[in-house]
């Protein structure tokens, strides 16, 4: 076989992937790296403005508010999702009767579209005719309608919606990790008289360590990136209370889609915002990675 046949064969099979990845995955990133130094409304003239977009970003209170909201949203979602999914995985990893059925039930939300379930959550959490309030009032658990999507509680509600869709996914990942822990370890510990709690902290947690480190990293990235459900449920409102950074960016670029009125699209400034959000996510991921490596060593 000549070198040329090899090359021809390799390229024929690899080129579709390379072309698509470069044209639609890498090229847009380079586009962003260029336009973040430009003023570009999406049509017509583009003007080089140097670091102006970044100066504006530093003073953009709405953006930094959205960064803060992102941390609250991601933190809340992680606090519910990670412990709950780990707990479910540990329980369903046992010999419990009906475990297959329960796994299937808990995983079910992950096959449903985030946007669709956000529409459903919007309808059932609606404060004056939503089913949740109607049921809670019918059974006298609350006296007057609870403002699920009002300024005070909207963040809680979007966190609940996001966690609802995510728990099953991480439960399954944790289950996969648990199944790689040798079964003899638990038997040996039981014979030595270790109870369920001891076996969890002394065997499960340290043995699951490396897998858990990756699963939590995936969970952190996903919770920082997710904005579809918020967009559909609250559009970032009321009064910007649930506006996370990727949603802020989206509204900057495609204002028509959500508000109905045609506003200037800001692709230059949007590129600077997009770049900064990616850097923020990158820093958090890297910081978590460094910290979790230390934790792994302690265990």
């Amino acid at each position: 076989m000549t070198r040329w046949t090899r090359l021809r064969e390799n390229s024929l099979l690899l080129l579709p992937s390379v072309i698509l990845t470069v044209a639609l995955g890498i090229y847009p990133l380079i586009w962003v790296l260029r336009y973040m130094f430009y003023d570009y409304p999406g049509y017509g003239a583009e003007t080089f403005v140097g670091l102006d977009n970044f100066r504006r970003l530093l003073r953009d209170a709405a953006f930094w508010e959205s960064v803060r909201n992102t941390f609250v949203f991601a933190g809340g979602k992680l606090l519910i999702t990670v412990p709950l999914s780990l707990l479910l995985a540990v329980i369903l990893n046992g010999r419990l009767r009906g475990r297959h059925f329960l796994r299937a039930v808990f995983f079910m939300p992950t096959v449903i579209s985030t946007a669709v379930i956000a529409v459903v959550f919007y309808l059932i959490f609606n404060s004056y005719n939503g089913m949740v309030n109607q049921l809670l009032m019918k059974y006298h658990l609350i006296g007057s309608p609870f403002e699920w999507l009002g300024p005070k509680h909207a963040m809680l509600t979007v966190i609940l919606a996001a966690a609802w869709g995510a728990v099953g996914n991480y439960m399954l990942l944790f289950l996969a990790g648990l199944q790689s822990i040798p079964h003899d370890l638990y038997e040996a510990a039981s014979i030595d008289g270790a109870g369920p709690a001891q076996r969890f902290w002394r065997i499960t947690v340290p043995m699951l360590g490396p897998v858990m480190q990756i699963i939590i990293m995936l969970a952190i990235i996903a919770s920082l990136k997710g904005y579809e459900s918020i967009m559909v449920m609250t559009e970032g409102g009321p009064i910007g209370k649930t506006e996370v950074m990727y949603l802020y960016l989206y509204k900057l670029l495609f204002p028509v889609a959500t508000s109905g009125a045609v506003v200037d699209q800001q692709f230059g400034y949007g590129s600077a915002v997009g770049f900064t959000t990616a850097v923020i996510v990158g820093i958090i991921t890297a910081a978590y990675y460094a910290m979790s490596r230390k934790m792994n060593k302690v265990f």
Binding site: E9, N10, L14, P16, S17, L20, T21, V22, G25, P28, L29, W31, V32, G42, V90, I91, N93, R95, L96, L102, V105, F106, M108, V111, I112, S113, T114, A115, V116, A118, V119, V120, F121, L123, I124, M131, L135, K138, W164, V167, L175, A176, Q179, S180, H183, S190, R199, I215, I221, E228, M231, V232, L253, F254, V256, A257, G274, T277, A278, T285
Partner: protein, 304 residues
């Protein structure tokens, strides 16, 4: 799936020699209490998981006034005409066709592109291989948000693909990194001797790919296909932005979410619920049929 036999929530059945009869009874009582708490917890979580789905199904069968009014859980009369109305008036027939078309094309494309690439990467060494793998990995982790839609859209305008769903389909296929890595894992399980002997018998590298490798890869293609299909079917932002000027190209997710933004004062909640059911049901049916495969691939991808 190999079952782990040690149970965390399960009481340990070994006997304590020092315990008197009353101690044993106490331990049994504690075990029963623990079991009750465990099941109570599981049932509550299961109920909370199923509640929104059940509300969607029952809501889709109510009249609008029933939904807007008092606290009904079950419809008094099953309003199946809601589905007929959503299907015809609210254009869900069109949305469903678009969703099916886009998802099937994107899934097949993703599988072909990723399988071919994984074949070369696993079976051959070539200059730039590490760079290629690095590029694939980076597309999974770097996210600059919706701003990439603009250069992608410009590119599709140049290729005259912006007035059909093919622009969206190509972008969905371009995000084939996770499929690529899952399939790469499955390639390791196909013995090299198999394709080597086929090639000794005179079958070319590419012919070996589609005659020998692809059939053997079927389980891997099946599970990663499920995930690719789920991703395409549930995609929202991408088809939303690409169909802003072309409403007849909208998919189920976009069409449904648009109803929520609808400016008409009287929102027809029951029709929205019916629409939500129409977009959830196909995925739920696929899930029920392929439940085991869904569970399998994730296990493989974490361990991988």
């Amino acid at each position: 799936m190999n079952e782990q036999t040690a149970a965390m929530g399960k009481p340990v059945p070994h006997k304590r020699r020092d315990g008197a009869a009353s101690g044993l009874a106490g331990a049994r009582l504690a075990a029963v209490a623990g079991r009750t708490v465990l099941w109570l917890f599981l049932l509550i979580v299961a109920a909370l998981t199923l509640f929104p789905i059940l509300m969607t199904v029952t809501g889709s069968l109510m009249t609008n006034s029933e939904l807007m009014g008092g606290g009904h859980i079950l419809p008094s009369d099953l309003q199946f005409q809601n589905y007929a109305e959503a299907w015809r008036q609210s254009n869900f027939a069109r949305f469903t066709w678009n969703s099916v078309y886009m998802s099937v094309a994107a899934t097949i494309g993703t599988l072909l592109v990723a399988a071919a690439a994984a074949y070369v990467v696993d079976r051959r060494s070539f200059p730039g291989k590490t760079l290629y793998i690095g590029l694939q990995a980076s597309t999974m982790f770097i996210s600059v948000g919706a701003v990439v839609l603009r250069p992608q859209f410009d590119l599709m305008v140049k290729l005259h693909l912006n007035s059909s769903l093919w622009g969206v389909i190509l972008i969905l296929i371009s995000a084939h990194a996770s499929t690529f890595f899952i399939l790469l894992g499955f390639f390791k399980a196909i013995p090299r001797e198999l394709d080597e002997s086929a090639m000794l018998d005179g079958s070319g590298f590419i012919r070996t790919f589609y005659r020998i490798i692809l059939p053997l890869l079927a389980p891997g293609l099946g599970v990663s296909g499920l995930f690719a299909f789920r991703h395409a079917w549930n995609e929202y932002i991408l088809p939303l932005v690409f169909t802003l000027t072309d409403p007849h190209l909208q998919t189920l997710t976009v069409g449904l979410a648009n109803l929520r933004y609808g400016s008409s004062a009287a929102m027809q909640l029951n029709l929205m619920m019916a629409g939500a059911c129409l977009s959830i049901l196909p995925m739920l049916i696929v899930y029920m049929l392929a439940n085991k495969s869904f569970m399998q691939v994730t296990a493989g991808s974490v361990k991988g």
